[in-house]
Symmetry: C2
Subunit: 395 residues, 2 copies
C-alpha cells in the first residue's frame, strides 16, 4: 500500500497491534471493514482524560464534581444536546448504561410484555434485532423503501403495522442506510406513535456523524406530546470511537416513563459506569468538537471516493450515499455472489464487511462497508473489491 | 504528619488529587477512612495493562484471545480460583458484570419473587441491604453473634429463619466483621440451604485479603450438593483496588441456576464490561500475587497497630481483630457518642468512617474504619480518634 497518512491515521501495523474485535477477528491477510470502529487516533481531550487517570492511578469509586460520576455524565449529555441541537433534556431523567444494546434490551423489557410487538425499521443493527428476540418480544419489521435516490421510512407500512406493536424503535440517523430523517418524516413517525399509544425509543448514537447538507433532529424535539413518550438512547462511543469504554445514556421524556423503567430495573441493577468511560465521555462531549470536524471532513472525502468508485467501477451495485455514518450500504445482488455477498468478498477479496443478512434475512446480497479508515487502506479495500467483482465490467 | 512512606504509599497530596469518592466527598480537613478504597499505588501489571491500552489507543470493542473479552475474564477467573483455592469453576457458567451490587440485585431478582424472603447476616454491606429492598424482596436479617473472641454465624438463628426465605446471601470473608468462615460453619450453612431448598449466593470479593492463620474456602467447594445451588460472586476490584474499573463475575454452580438467571436476564441486558476493567482484571488475577503479598504484609502491620491502640488507648471499645479485609469494626457504645459514633468522629475528630447504621439500624454505635492507608496517615487517624474519645481514659 502507498503511504498518505494524516494526523488522524495510524499505520496498518499499529492498527493490527490494537486488540479490538475489528482487527483481530480475521487473519492477517484480511482487511477489516466491518464492525463500527474507526481506524483513527484518539480524540486529544479523551486521551488527556485517560492519561490523567493513569498518572494518578485513579481507579477507585469515581465521584465527579462532588457527586457520583453518573450525575456528571448526565449533565454532560444535557449540555451537549443543548449546544448541538438546542434540545434541553432533563439530566434528572437520565440513566447511564454500559452500551446501547443494554439500553435497547432494558427499554424493550420495560415497555412491552413478553410476546408483544416491537416495531422497527429494517434493515436494522443486528444486536437490536437480537435484543427483541432475546427478550422474547415479537419483532415487527417494517422495511425501509428505496425511492431510487435514497432510503425512506415506509410511513404507510408503519401505520399499518402499528396495531401489532407496543413500542416503536427508530434509529436516527439510520444504521445501516445512513439516512438522517427529516422533520416531516419524524413528525409523521411521532404522530403514529401518539395515535397508536406506542413508546418511541430513539437511538441517536450516530447523530454527530452527519454530513454537510443534513441536520439531525432529536426525536424528542418534534413536539411535547411526542417527547413525553420518547426514550432517547445515545453515547459518545460511536462518534469518538471509544466503544470498548462502555458508557451510554438513556433519557426518559417524562417522569412516568422513567418510573415504569425503574419498576423493572431498580437503581444499580443495570450496573455502574466505569471511570474511563465516564471521563472519556465527559471530555468528548465537552471539548471534542474540533477533532470531530476533522473526522467528518475525512469521512466526507472517503464517502466521495466510494461514490466515484461505485459510479465508475461498479455501476451494477445499488448504492445511495449515506447522509450520516461511515457506512456504505451496498446492494450487490446484480453480481449474484455466492454463498452471500459478505462471504464472497471475504473469500475472494479478503475484505471483511458486515453481512447484510445480519441486518435482516432479506439482505443477504447486501454488505455494510465501514469506510472510517485511511485513504491508503480505503484504496486497498476498493481495489480488492473491484478485482473480485470484475470492476468496470458488468458481470 | 511525619513521613514514612514505602513503595506502596502515596503522599497525601497525591491521594487528594485522585477524584475518587473516598478522597473527594469530605472537606480537606477530614481524613477519609470509610469507603473500600486503598490508599496505595496500583499493582504494576495492572498499570502496565492500562498503559498498553493508552499507548495503542485501543478503545474499540474488545476481543481477547480471539473471542469477546467476557470469555477471557471468565477463563482468568477459573484459572485464578484453581491456583488459589483448588476450586475448578466452569468458565462456561460465568456471567461477567459491572460490579457486585449489580450481581447481588440480579441474583435476588432471579431467584426470589417479589416480597419473598432473602436471608442475610447482619451487619451487612449497605448496598446489599439496599439491593434486597430496592428489588422489593423481603430482607430477613440474622445477626452475627459476638462470642467474646470473634463474630460468629448464628447457625441456630439461620435455621429458625430459613423457612421465611427463598435465598441465603453469605458474605465470606465477612464485611464488616472480617470473619473468614471455617469449614464447619460453611458446612452447616450449606446443610441449611439444602434442607430449606435455598439458593445460596456467596460474595467472596474479600477472599484474597485473608491474614496468615486463616484460609478462605469457596462456598461451592463444600460439597457437590451445595455447589449445585451456589452462585458465587467476586471481582478483582477489591483486592487490587480498582473499584472504578467495574468488572466482576457471577459463577453459577449448575446449568439449571444459569438457565433461571438467563430467563430473567437475556444476554447483554446487564451490559458489557469495558476494556480497562477487562485487562486490569486479567492482569491482576494472572500476575498480581507478589504485589498482593506486600499489601497483606502492610495491612497486617496496620491491623496490629489498631489492635495495640484499642487495647492500650481505647479499652472501652469492643473490637475483634479481623481475619480478613482492611476494616476494623468498632463498637463504641461505651462512649455514648451522639448523635452517632460516625457523626461524632466526623465532627470531633474530622475522621470519616463508615456509619455503623448503614450496616443495620442496630449498629449506630459502631463504625467501620478502613485502615488500608500509610502508617503515617493511620497514625494521624488514631491520634485524632484518640483525642476525640479521650484516649487512655474511660469515659
Amino acid at each position: 500500500m502507498s503511504d498518505s497518512l494524516d494526523e488522524l491515521d495510524l499505520p496498518i501495523e499499529a492498527l493490527r497491534r490494537r486488540q479490538n474485535r475489528k482487527w483481530t477477528r480475521y487473519g492477517p491477510d484480511v482487511i477489516p471493514a466491518w464492525i463500527a470502529d474507526m481506524d483513527y487516533r484518539a480524540e486529544p481531550s479523551v486521551q488527556a482524560a485517560l492519561t490523567r487517570l493513569l498518572a494518578e492511578e485513579d481507579y477507585g469509586y469515581p465521584d465527579r464534581a462532588g457527586d457520583i460520576a453518573e450525575r456528571a455524565v448526565a449533565a454532560a449529555f444535557a449540555q451537549h444536546q443543548r449546544e448541538l441541537y438546542g434540545w434541553d433534556p432533563d439530566p434528572e431523567l437520565v440513566q447511564p448504561v454500559s452500551d446501547l444494546v443494554q439500553a435497547m434490551l432494558a427499554t424493550v423489557v420495560s415497555y412491552a410484555e413478553p410476546r408483544e410487538g416491537v416495531l422497527l425499521q429494517v434493515p436494522a443493527y443486528p444486536p437490536f434485532r437480537a435484543a427483541v428476540e432475546n427478550a422474547r418480544r415479537t419483532l415487527v419489521a417494517n422495511a425501509m423503501q428505496d425511492d431510487g435516490r435514497r432510503w425512506t421510512l415506509d410511513l404507510a407500512g408503519l401505520e399499518a403495522l402499528a396495531p401489532q406493536a407496543r413500542m416503536l424503535l427508530v434509529c436516527n440517523p439510520h444504521n445501516p442506510t445512513g439516512r438522517v430523517f427529516a422533520r416531516d418524516e419524524l413528525t409523521e413517525l411521532g404522530r403514529i406513535a401518539v395515535d397508536h399509544d406506542l413508546v418511541l425509543v430513539s437511538d441517536e448514537v450516530h447523530s454527530e456523524l452527519v454530513y454537510p447538507g443534513h441536520r439531525h433532529i432529536p426525536t424528542a424535539m418534534i413536539s411535547p406530546e411526542v417527547a413525553a413518550r420518547t426514550v432517547t438512547i445515545t453515547s459518545a462511543t460511536k462518534s469518538f470511537n471509544i466503544g470498548g469504554l462502555r458508557c451510554g445514556v438513556i433519557h426518559f421524556g417524562s417522569a412516568a416513563l422513567f418510573d415504569r423503567f425503574r419498576r423493572c430495573f431498580p437503581d444499580r441493577l443495570l450496573g455502574q459506569i466505569n471511570a474511563f468511560g465516564v471521563d472519556a465521555t465527559i471530555a468528548a462531549w465537552g471539548t471534542g468538537h474540533s477533532w470531530l470536524r476533522r473526522v467528518m471532513a475525512k469521512l466526507g472525502s472517503n464517502r466521495a471516493r466510494i461514490g466515484d468508485f461505485c459510479a465508475n467501477q461498479l455501476p451494477a451495485a445499488r448504492y445511495h450515499e449515506p447522509e450520516a455514518t461511515y457506512f456504505a450500504w451496498l446492494d450487490l445482488s446484480a453480481f449474484n455472489l455466492l454463498p452471500s455477498a459478505h462471504e464472497f468478498l471475504l473469500d475472494a477479496a479478503r475484505i471483511a464487511t458486515s453481512a447484510g443478512s445480519e441486518f435482516g434475512p432479506e439482505y443477504a446480497e447486501f454488505v455494510r462497508l465501514n469506510f472510517a479508515t485511511s485513504p491508503t487502506i480505503l484504496e486497498e479495500i476498493l481495489s480488492r473489491v473491484g478485482v473480485a467483482l470484475g470492476a468496470g465490467h458488468r458481470i
